[in-house]
């Protein structure tokens, strides 16, 4: 049965909790939404609902981590990465404590709650914190890997999840590697580097482009930090044109990270960043928001054509 990303997260967290008694889970009164409540039901003594107090929650996680626990901090991505930012900076980044920051409802997935609840700058914010790893998952199998990775890797990290259903790209149990992107479709005219739900839109765009004789390569860059700079440069070398796609503003997120890698790698190729154009969205049905704000397959197809026009 198909499950939403948040349910996949809740299940994975529970399974890891059964195997590892050091895992503790904190939530800020949204455990029914983040699905951390699944862990609470089985392990109430290792679950701490701090009320609507994200800064306190994140700082409490530092105490748990320093005493040998693996704390998972849960709330909406928009709040974990804002109200939780100061303790994340002091304790996860500066102090290198193994705090696991879980951003539920990434991107516009909390569609009807509107821009106050959309997380559209979380990747830029968290990526800027020294030493903090950043991931954005694209399907259920990858979500399960990410949770397991958070338990096994001592690094502090931020994982962007989603409220919604994402189509599957991987078989259950698919092996992922930290810092290694996944090549989902080969192609020689253009490369689309995407994360999260935009991976699905990138694949759909590649199909549409293929019908027009344009061969598009699609890369799932779930590992935003560490970024797979090698894969980015390979995209540039093999196609000579790059489009990035993310449910995020075009500033400082995946698109920014890819441009940094291209510049530093000396790749001189045209790039178009698909994302929110330095603006907030509004409330409404998820799919309609994605279309109106230029975050879907149609926007990617247009971006590819624009980029190919600039290709030498």
């Amino acid at each position: 049965m198909k499950i939403a990303i948040r349910e996949a997260y809740g299940q994975a967290l529970l399974e890891c909790g059964r195997e590892n008694g050091d895992i503790v889970v904190l939530d800020a009164d949204v455990s029914g939404s983040t699905k951390s409540a699944m862990f609470k039901k089985e392990f109430p003594e290792r679950f701490f609902n701090v009320g609507i107090a994200e800064a306190n929650m994140t700082a409490m996680a530092a105490g748990f981590a320093s005493a040998g626990k693996i704390p998972f901090v849960n709330s909406f991505a928009a709040f974990v990465t804002t109200l939780g930012l100061l303790p994340a900076r002091a304790f996860a980044s500066y102090s290198k404590l193994p705090i696991k920051l879980m951003g539920a409802y990434g991107g516009l997935s909390d569609a009807f709650d509107g821009p106050s609840h959309h997380a559209i700058e979380d990747i830029a914010v968290m990526r800027a914190l020294p030493g903090l790893k950043v991931y954005a998952v694209s399907d259920v199998a990858q979500t399960r890997w990410a949770v397991r990775h958070a338990v096994e890797d001592r690094s502090p990290m931020y994982i962007r999840l989603s409220r919604d259903y994402f189509p599957d790209h991987y078989a259950p149990g698919e092996v992922f590697e930290d810092g290694k992107a996944k090549l989902l479709r080969d192609g020689g005219d253009v490369a689309i580097i995407a994360c999260g739900l935009m991976v699905e839109h990138a694949l759909q765009a590649a199909e549409l482009l293929g019908a027009e004789g344009i061969s598009a390569r699609v890369v799932d860059m779930f590992t935003i930090k560490p970024l797979d700079a090698g894969a980015v440069l390979e995209c540039a070398a093999k196609t000579g044109a790059i489009v990035t796609a993310e449910e995020h503003t075009v500033i400082g997120g995946l698109g920014g990270a890819v441009c940094e890698a291209l510049c530093e790698g000396g790749a001189s190729v045209p790039v178009t960043r698909v994302g929110l154009a330095d603006r907030h969205a509004e409330c409404g049905p998820y799919a309609k928001l994605l279309h109106k704000y230029g975050l879907d397959k149609d926007a990617i197809v247009a971006a590819v054509k624009k980029t190919l026009a600039k290709k030498k």
Binding site: F48, A55, G63, A67, L97
Partner: protein
Amino acid sequence: MAISAGTSAGISAEDRRKLEKLCQKFRRKLIDVLHAKQTGHPGGSLSVCEILVSLYFHQANVDSGNPGDPNRDRIILSKGHAAPMLYLALAEKGFFPYGEIDTLRDFETRLQGHPSIKDTPGVELSTGPLGLGLSAGLGMALALRLDRSPARVYVVLGDGEINEGTVWEAAMAAAKFKADGLTAILDWNRVQLDGATDDVMPSGDLGAKFVAFGWNTIHCDGHDIGAICRACDEAAAAKGRPSIVLAHTVKGKGVSFMEGKSAWHGSPIKDADYEIARRELDEGVGA
């Protein structure tokens, strides 16, 4: 204000005299170092002296020979700008050589401007951004309780610091989780960077506020080592709720012209002022 008479064992007269001597030593060295470096925070370091000395040298189970002991007590200096006094205590405890104090705030020093868990042996939490230590201390106390450890967590707060909302988020949460392994100690010196706390942000009846939040509250003279130790014993005896020791202190304690003056929160010490301060501390005025 009711000063606790104390009913518990506290500290022997002999030990108390030893720790008073230690405070005198620390104050002299603090003034020496802050004068030499022309940077650092004298006021809040001087006010917290007896609190840290009581914790490190009597109250808490902290051993530099076994720094990773899971059952060690944890001391968090949430008002991280008083780092120089913390470093003096940690050096005296043997976490690093006493002479290393002279590298305070130097380039590539282990003794950073504010406490760093990565750099300085014995530091339990990086602090500096105010208002986070009580939350982290609560997390530690709950983790220790999960492990059935007898260890206690002490969080030393500043009275300017409690302007931060996170302190009150943590206060609510500590009561909810019945964190009786957690003792907060407020260095209530009534002065913050810009002036008197009553002018900058009046804290009102802090005892009543913490009682209303579900805490056990104990007042004491924050420069009386015997009173601080008795208050901590009382806190440890309180079950089912966290405790806060409201330690009434004087900012800049021990140096007459610094006492109660916000100007000495973080000002460099000039040569002429240094001479006066040293003379007063050598003569034991105010100590």
